[in-house]
Amino acid sequence: MTTITCSQIDDLLFDGSPLAMQTAARHAETCASCAETLAAWNDLSATARSMRTSWENEMLWPRIERSLRAEPKRTPRLWQLAAAILITIGLGTTMFYAVRTQTRDAAFDETILRISALDEVERAEKAHVAAIDALENVAEARLEDPQTSLMIAYKEKLMLLDDAIDECQANIDRNRQNAHLRRQLLAMYTEKQQTLQDVLREETNVSTP
């Protein structure tokens, strides 16, 4: 048999199971204070159980039934269905346009980015061309009157490059976004720059006694 102390009586009352209440009752047999607590506890429960109540009222169900019959039907009315359909269509259309606008915006953004990248490339090209022109101006005097066969070859080469550059530029003007042509143009300019540098270097060598 489990022996309990007064301090554990609350735990047993909280538990409330038949076993816990039996244990509490056994302890109460030897403890006046806990016996009083347990008696009040059980008396409360017994009084409460007696308060469960019922009565017959033959008029109650017919009254409830009448009130239920008077309730409006829960089935959706025609206008409610129409409103639901309209709202669905409205929402659908809004969604469609929202998605379409978003797609357009994305395409627009992409184009803007592409144009801005192209502008950047063209700006770089212009700067490159300007630098080469400056180099050409320096070398021009010697090229106008070449003194050696090498300088004549350089002059012809530069003329060929200029023709090729003009042709490539014309093609690029027709299709600004053709990256291949732009790479070709860059290669030609680089070649021209290299040639001009060779001309200047050659001129220096020639001038040097």
Binding site: A48, S50, L60, R63, E71, R74
Partner: protein
């Protein structure tokens, strides 16, 4: 006409929800009067008892039961089956009782003690019942409901938890704390 009767065995709030509960709810939503009559036959006595023990008046208790049926009809389509139909029904009833009590408080009127019928425990002192009723009236709503549903109606803590939207453990704790408070006052009642 009110006719006093002894309380017979009452159905439990029902165990776990099942397909039948959903069927009952869908028939309620459709306004099937036969299913409402079946619900009244099955739960009516307990509904009246719960309502009376919250409101203390037969007329108010019957109004609350009627109002509960109307609410079931209106809300049956929203029944999800999370709780059993019986539990759901009692939850609506208890909330309806709370509404009545709040309206009554606003009117600052005391409901008359309506005690004109026999009880299940004929051997229990009427004075004790009246005293306990008065003590319960002083309790906050939730504590009063837990005590009423467990001690008077014999529902389990699990069922009470679902009805009142609290945990089973909380229901057990609230009952213990309530009985402990009542016990002190009860000694005076029993002594007198």
């Amino acid at each position: 006409m009110l006719q006093a009767v002894m309380t017979t065995s009452m159905p439990p709030a029902a165990a776990a929800p099942n397909a039948d509960d959903r069927l009952v709810a869908s028939r309620c939503a459709a306004g099937d009067s036969l299913i409402f009559e079946e619900i009244y036959r099955r739960y009516g006595d307990r509904m009246k008892s719960i309502a009376w023990n919250h409101l203390g008046s037969v007329a108010d208790a019957e109004d609350a039961v009627q109002e509960t049926f109307l609410k079931i009809h209106r809300a049956a389509s929203t029944y999800t089956g999370e709780a059993s139909f019986g539990t759901w029904l009692f939850r609506i009833l208890v909330n309806t009782c709370y509404d009545v009590l709040r309206k009554r408080k606003r009117r600052v009127e005391e409901a008359p003690m309506d005690d004109t019928f026999e009880r299940s425990g004929a051997n229990v002192d009427d004075a004790k019942r009246i005293a306990l009723k008065q003590l319960l009236d002083e309790l906050p709503e939730q504590r009063r409901s837990v005590f009423t549903l467990f001690e008077i109606e014999g529902l389990s803590h699990a069922e009470i938890g679902e009805i009142l939207g609290i945990t089973e453990g909380n229901s057990k704790w609230i009952l213990f704390a309530t009985k402990k408070d009542l016990k002190e006052k009860w000694r005076n009642v029993a002594g007198s």
